[in-house]
């Protein structure tokens, strides 16, 4: 059991486990699974903008902020007590392609050449960390959900709007990974 928990999970264990978050949240809190609205609540909580969009009682949505605080704690717990010391199990084809684009360090969850405070002034880091984050916030609120709210909760409900959003996720993601990422990595 410990051996199983300590290893990275295959898709057929991880996927259904994530899917079970949908009924668990409904049964325990009667809330729909979703993460990105937490970003809006954080803004409302910190009152960083006077726009009407943030004029609502964010305290009523505090479950969502506690949920994402839990995400942080859960990851921290795993990192502390049941860490995986293996490399992320990506395919050889991906390693080959990333190597040809200039990635040489495959340890950890993200390439250290980009995601580190030491590189904060590098073009690749600014684009990935700062611009990427901005687009995640802007896009998820514009679309009304992210991978959890639209792809998992929305598609589970057979919601047409969520399907449109997910198609959008992939149009954007494919365009960046295929055409923009190579340019960004060439600056390393």
């Amino acid at each position: 059991m410990i051996e199983f928990i300590s290893k990275p999970w295959p898709w057929y264990v991880a996927g259904p486990a994530i899917g079970l978050m949908v009924p668990l949240l409904l049964i325990v809190l009667n809330k729909s699974f979703g993460v990105s609205s937490s970003l809006k609540h954080l803004c409302a909580m910190c009152s960083i903008s006077k726009a009407n969009y943030f004029k609502y009682n964010w305290k009523k949505e505090s479950w969502n902020l506690l949920f994402v605080f839990g995400i942080f704690l859960g990851a921290l717990f795993v990192a502390e007590y049941i860490p995986t010391n293996e490399l992320v199990g990506i395919s050889d084809a991906t390693v080959t392609k990333l190597s040809s684009l200039g990635i040489s360090d495959f340890t950890g969850l993200m390439p250290s050449q980009i995601f580190g405070f030491d590189h904060i002034s590098n073009t690749a880091t600014l684009i990935s960390v700062v611009l990427g984050g901005f687009l995640v916030g802007f896009g998820t609120r514009y679309a009304g959900g992210c991978t959890s709210g639209h792809a998992i909760m929305g598609l589970s409900m057979l919601n047409l709007g969520s399907l449109v959003a997910v198609v959008g996720f992939f149009i954007g993601g494919l365009a960046v990974s295929w055409f923009i990422l190579p340019l960004i990595l060439s600056s390393l």
Partner: protein
């Protein structure tokens, strides 16, 4: 108690995100390059389990532990907003290698620099909040 449950459910989800490796930038590029079934298998099987669970909940007219009928509201469908916003988020997903859930999990995993991404994401939300009425939805 509800507060504690929210944190615990989040912790469960955060732990799964790490064990599933879906918070890894490497996994996200691999997915968009169609070089592994891993991410597709996870998202697909999560949807199947979610959909079956919702059907069961509906048929049984199940109640939450606080005794209320479970009846999740459909999300509002803005044709243009969902597509354009979706495309913008997709770009961000591929750039940071993380969607919102994984952002929080990455910070927990020790990637402090992702706090910068979360702050940037908040600024993105502010920008949307200010521009909302001028954007096509």
């Amino acid at each position: 108690m509800r507060h504690l449950y929210a944190v615990l459910l989040g912790a469960l989800f955060g732990g799964i995100l790490v064990k599933a490796e879906v918070l890894s930038w490497f996994r996200i590029q691999e997915m968009f390059w169609f070089q592994s079934f891993h991410m597709y298998g996870i998202i697909g099987s999560a949807i199947v389990v979610g959909a079956i669970s919702l059907q069961i909940i509906k048929r049984l007219e199940a109640k939450s532990i606080s005794g209320d009928l479970i009846n999740p509201a459909d999300k509002k469908f803005n044709k243009k907003g969902n597509l354009i916003g979706g495309i913008i988020f997709g770009c961000g997903w591929a750039l940071t290698g993380a969607c919102p859930g994984p952002l929080y999990a990455l910070v927990g995993s020790g990637y402090g620099i992702i706090l910068v991404s979360i702050f940037s994401a908040m600024l993105g939300v502010v920008a949307y909040g200010i521009l909302k009425d001028k954007l096509p939805h």
